[in-house]
């Protein structure tokens, strides 16, 4: 049960000439299997929040608790997908997909089998020997997803995973993310700059304030989860509401890339 509780999480970076307060008391609860989208102005601390949730960054104050356990190190079944996908250019598709299992010393045969299953699920089973530089942007994103699936992740943290893709590939992958979530029921946190993406993939959409980041507003989005949601009135209503909230936070002028 990958339920997540974030309690007054604060992070201050000690920069070279000044300290930067990235997060100032973020409170957030996710039920097991819930999908939320996180949106906010550039530099408000979204990536920082994910790094802390992944156990890669020691918070200055507060805590992240997953499955009742306080996160201080990377957790076995938490998968983090970074904006540039975090693939290793020197490993092939298959080796990249297997990497998490190999690092955790799973037996080779089992790693191979689980990586193959995951690659098949995302449609990459015919590209095992290629290197990431030989893949399209969408295929790289699928590979990053496969790595998370191979680990049987129950908490998926995604930092603008689709922002580098063209519009068609992007919708394609949004559909893949949705169908994976519906099939597997993992808990999902998606950081995005796109209003439509946030509304399509977040059962709740969390709006963050400019730095130091807090959760400034929450849009409840009960219609989310249906593949046809994009064409509905409710979808457009939620987009309009979200756009209004972002404008109020000053995000539409500061943050680039919203669609």
């Amino acid at each position: 049960m990958a339920d997540v509780r974030i309690d007054s999480l604060s992070v201050t970076y000690h920069g070279v000439d000044a300290d930067v307060r990235a997060l100032a008391g973020v409170d957030l609860s996710l039920a097991d299997g819930e999908a939320v989208a996180l949106i906010g102005p550039s530099g408000c601390g979204k990536s920082t929040l994910l790094l802390a949730a992944a156990g890669l960054l020691v918070p200055t104050g507060g805590a992240v608790v997953v499955e009742g356990e306080r996160i201080a190190h990377p957790r076995l079944r938490t998968a983090l997908i970074l904006q540039d996908f975090g693939l290793l250019p020197w490993k092939t598709v298959l080796d990249n997909a297997e990497l998490g299992l190999r690092i955790r010393h799973h037996p080779a045969a089992e790693s191979r089998r689980r990586a193959m299953e995951a690659l098949t699920r995302v449609g990459l089973e015919e590209f095992l020997g290629l290197f990431p530089s030989e893949l399209s942007g969408g295929m790289r994103q699928r590979l990053a997803l496969a790595r998370a699936l191979a680990l049987d992740a129950d908490l998926l943290l995604m930092d603008e995973p689709l922002s580098a893709l063209d519009a068609l590939t992007r919708e394609d992958l949004q559909d893949l993310l949705l169908s994976l979530w519906r099939d597997r029921g993992h808990t999902s946190v998606l950081v995005t700059h796109s209003i439509e993406e946030a509304v399509y993939l977040g059962r709740r959409v969390l709006v963050m304030s400019p730095r130091p980041g807090r959760i400034a507003a929450v849009v409840d989005n009960p219609g989310m989860g249906d593949p046809g949601y994009r064409e509905t009135e409710a979808f457009h209503g939620a987009c309009v509401e979200l756009r209004g909230l972002l404008a109020a936070e000053g995000a539409l002028h500061r943050g680039g890339g919203e669609s």
Partner: protein, 250 residues
């Protein structure tokens, strides 16, 4: 196979251009120190039985120095680039010594190690070591934070990050350092063999020069050039295997 053929054609063309330039230069200069290609290559073939063992000595010295410099310098450089603490302790030591021209220590090495293989190899190793060390340090520093974070998020410890990210990610730059070190190694080889050797191509050239045997001398120079080219190509070949990924997708 087509890429291979194109590369071969490039080499043939380059060799042809060089022979023509050589021919012209020898005609213009008209000096016994620069024979025509026909004479030079003829002499090379005639001297071959004597050149071969000299070539063997020189190759052995160059290769063992480069390997030693690599085996010690690369891991140390990667470590310094990734560990602030190690860099604080050893960094100043490296940067004080890096700019010092190591060749001037040849007399010291000769006194300590005697004339012969040991002092020649020690001198070349010392020089190549610093080149590789400094490059490896910079390479491991510029490893992207994202790849380190993503591997750490998979549960990797420091050692696994080192093996899976730092080492392979620094490989292309280490190979660049190796290629540069071939040039350095052959140059220092010539210098140290002509002073501290009674074997090897450097000695061969120096000795022939002393005896005013310009034909022999030139054959030795050709052999030395050949040694440089062969070492360089060997490193290219190894790189193509080890860093296959760096050429993929271009």
């Amino acid at each position: 196979m087509r890429g291979w053929a194109r590369k071969a054609a490039g080499y043939v063309a380059a060799a042809a251009i060089m022979v023509v330039a050589w021919e012209l230069a020898s005609l213009v200069l008209h000096s016994p120190a620069l024979p025509t290609p026909a004479d030079g290559l003829g002499e090379f073939v005639r001297q071959f039985p004597l050149l071969l063992p000299a070539f063997g000595y020189s190759a052995l010295r160059a290769v063992s120095s480069i390997v030693l410099g690599l085996v010690v310098g690369a891991p140390l450089g990667l470590l310094l680039g990734r560990s602030e603490r190690a860099d604080l302790v050893f960094g100043p030591l490296v940067f004080l010594n890096y700019p010092v021209p190591k060749v001037v220590f040849l007399p010291v090495l000769l006194v300590l190690l005697g004339i012969g293989n040991a002092s020649i190899i020690a001198l070349i190793t010392l020089i190549v070591f610093f080149q590789i060390l400094v490059t490896a340090r910079d390479a491991s520093r510029s490893i992207s934070r994202a790849s380190v974070l993503s591997v750490r998020s998979l549960g990797a410890d420091r050692w696994q990050v080192f093996v899976n990210v730092v080492v392979p990610g620094s490989m292309p730059e280490i190979f660049t350092a190796l290629r540069i070190s071939v040039g350095t190694a052959v140059a220092v080889l010539f210098f140290s063999e002509s002073i501290a050797g009674s074997t090897g191509l450097g000695y061969f050239v120096f000795d022939a020069w002393g005896r005013i045997q310009y034909g022999e001398m030139f054959a030795g120079i050709l052999a030395m050039a050949l040694l440089g080219v062969l070492l360089y190509e060997a490193i290219e070949l190894i790189e193509a295997r080890v860093c296959r990924w760096a050429r993929a997708g271009r």
